[in-house]
């Protein structure tokens, strides 16, 4: 069975009909292809054919009246055409040859030296080369698209880990425009100095780093936890690095929140059992004291001591009730409220302390109301607890308190930041535990209740603190759509 010769449509662009005749005659003797040869003598018609992609290959004469074959090549580049273009000329000119090749011509043939063999070889090489280039471009497009559309930050960097090229996710993660990133090194964005040193050492020693958990600082100062991998690659231009940053900030937050819920759940169960066990004997004490008080004489010293016993029993009862309230999952009724309005009321509640402490308070809200589903009274208490803690933590006279509310499409973020004494790292994880306090007269129930309320609002709470510099509470609420 004989293989059918492939069809190839060829356009010869030449203002000289005789030249077209000679060239096409040579072509017609080619056996390997079924050639369909057309002639075009007007430059504008040739461009139109190029635009409409009517031919598989073009042979264009260097001289085309006022235009040249190079103009046709330029037009093809501009239009993004990939069909092979062969430049024909009457005399050998090395400069034109080089220029034509640089502009993307597939080949350069001298008319006086044309033969059937030469033309066949030219057509075969050109078509094969174009097929390879097309496949290469398709591959490049495919991988470029994987690079660009990746949800993870993918980038290429030099040996100093200075950004060379990066995808959109890198800009989105780090908050910098691509051009801004090109002036930065990956090391500059690592928040922790120890991590920075460690990464530098690993990259220098091993030429790669795999799955390192790092905190990167974004343009607006936010810290994000990421898994970072980088690999060295060598090509003709030398060595460069391919890096990948996978943002796990939300995952870590969720893990932290789950851990906290589990801890609180376990504490709550223990507290409820304990409270039940304490309340029963406490009731017996109270009833007995009441009996004794009835039989005690007025002004008797026994009455004084019984009063003390009764008062302290009541105190124990109140503590148990408060503790139970803190550990019980809150079941609330929610309405659509503006975060700004709730925060204003919380600030108003604390404003006496704020002004008497001479705290420099800066309140900045998003212009548009940030609506959430909230139990206004409870949320007011939650904000108030955080604000009061901040006011108590800052130095009198030089204290600073910043409250911001930023609205986004799916979430609203409340930030309460102070320049107070800060919280040691080892205490941050215990901050919301019931009965954990660093205050002399504190019960350690304020933030436990706050967490309980915020969790009822499906809010995410994040605390960052530096000792002697201050603390920032970042609370993210799901937005309520109208």
């Amino acid at each position: 069975m004989s293989m059918k010769s492939p069809n190839v449509r060829i356009l010869i662009i030449d203002d000289d009909e005789d030249d077209f005749f000679i060239t096409s005659e040579y072509m017609r003797q080619i056996q390997e292809y079924q050639l369909h040869i057309d002639w075009c003598y007007k430059y504008s018609d040739a461009v139109k054919n190029l635009q409409e992609s009517n031919y598989d290959m073009y042979f264009v004469d260097y001289r085309l009246g006022a235009r040249t074959g190079l103009d046709f090549l330029k037009e093809a580049v501009k239009l993004g055409r990939e069909e092979p273009i062969v430049l024909l000329t009457g005399k050998g000119n090395k400069d034109v040859d080089i220029e034509a090749m640089q502009m993307g011509a597939t080949d350069y043939l001298i008319k006086t030296e044309l033969t059937t063999d030469k033309l066949e070889r030219c057509i075969r090489y050109s078509l094969e080369r174009t097929a390879y280039l097309k496949a290469l471009r398709a591959n490049e497009k495919k991988y470029r698209s994987i690079f660009e559309l990746s949800k993870d930050a993918v980038f290429i960097a030099d040996q100093e880990l200075r950004f060379i090229d990066m995808n959109g996710a890198t800009s989105a993660l780090l908050g910098y425009e691509k051009e801004e990133l090109k002036n930065k090194r990956m090391y500059d964005l690592i928040a922790d100095e120890i991590d920075k040193g460690l990464l530098q050492k690993i990259v220098a020693d091993e030429g790669e780093a795999n799955d390192m958990e790092l905190e990167v600082e974004t343009k607006n100062g936010e810290r994000k936890t990421c898994i970072f991998s980088v690999t060295a690659t060598v090509d003709n231009d030398g060595a460069y690095y391919q890096g990948l940053l996978h943002d796990i900030t939300n995952l870590r937050r969720a893990e932290k929140a789950n851990l906290m819920i589990e801890k609180l759940g376990a504490t709550g169960r223990l507290v409820r059992t304990l409270a039940h066990e304490v309340r029963n004997p406490l009731n017996n004490i109270n009833m007995s004291v009441e009996q004794l008080l009835q039989s005690a004489d007025e002004g008797d010293e026994t009455q004084l001591f019984l009063d003390i016993v009764q008062r302290n029993s009541k105190r124990i009862g109140d503590i148990i009730t408060e503790l139970l309230d803190t550990s019980r999952p809150t079941d609330l009724v929610f309405d659509r409220c503006s975060l700004q309005a709730i925060m204003d009321e919380s600030v108003a509640e604390a404003i006496d302390r704020i002004t008497l402490q001479h705290v420099n308070m800066q309140i900045r809200y998003s212009d548009e109301p940030c609506y959430i589903l909230a139990n206004k009274e409870k949320l007011k208490i939650a904000f108030l607890n955080i604000i009061i803690n901040a006011v108590e933590a800052v130095p009198a006279g030089t204290g600073e308190l910043s409250i911001t509310i930023d609205g986004m499409r799916d979430a609203h973020v409340v930030t309460i930041k102070d320049n107070g004494c800060g919280i040691p790292e080892e205490n941050i994880s215990r901050l919301f535990e019931p009965y954990f306090t660093s205050k002399r007269n504190g019960m350690g129930l304020g933030l436990a209740a706050t967490l309980n309320i915020l969790q009822s609002h499906k809010a995410n709470i994040d605390v960052t603190s530096v000792v002697k510099q201050g603390t920032t509470f970042t609370i993210t609420f799901p937005a309520s759509q109208a």
Binding site: D344, V347, A348, E349, I351, D352, I354, T355, H358, V359, N360, M361, Q362, I363, R364, Y365, G397, T398, E400
Partner: protein, 156 residues
């Protein structure tokens, strides 16, 4: 009958004849509440965090004290004086038997020289009204924080 020149916040002045008024008992809390409500209804864009403690009633010229507190609150709530959302906290000190009463207006506006220059006529009017009530008006700037307007009434 005496006459008095009033200067508005925009610098317009008018001389008014004033009947010698007798003193009445007026609730300072009610006047402040009314002044705030009026300011909020006049300026829908007014973003204010406001808190007022329970203020006592005093015996004085009702018209003058009302005028003074309305003007003072207008002065404090004037636009563009604070870097952040405006707040105003009003409390009172003293006022018991034979003890002078002071109303304190804590706010985060920056009442520096530029503010004084800009609000000169309105400040003058407030001072004049305070003087007519035999009261004293002081502004203390608190570094980085804002300022406290103190309105002190004499013991009667």
């Amino acid at each position: 009958m005496s006459s008095r020149t009033l200067v508005s916040r925009k610098g317009l002045s008018a001389t008014v004849k004033q009947e010698p008024a007798s003193d009445n008992t007026v609730s300072l809390y009610e006047i402040v509440r009314e002044a705030i409500q009026q300011a909020q209804s006049n300026r829908k864009d007014l973003m204010l965090v406001f808190r007022c403690e329970a203020l006592p009633s005093i015996s004085c010229n009702a018209m003058l004290i009302k005028d003074l507190l309305h003007r003072l609150i207008d002065l404090i709530l004037a636009e563009g004086q604070a870097d952040s959302r405006l707040f105003l906290y009003i409390n009172s000190i003293g006022g018991a038997d034979q003890e002078p009463l002071t109303l304190e207006f804590h706010t985060n506006i920056k009442a520096g020289p530029e503010w004084c220059e800009h609000n000169g006529p309105a400040i003058q009017t407030c001072l004049q009204l305070a003087s007519d009530l035999e009261a004293g008006l002081l502004v203390n700037e608190i570094k980085n924080t804002g300022c406290i307007f103190s309105l002190s009434f004499p013991v009667k």
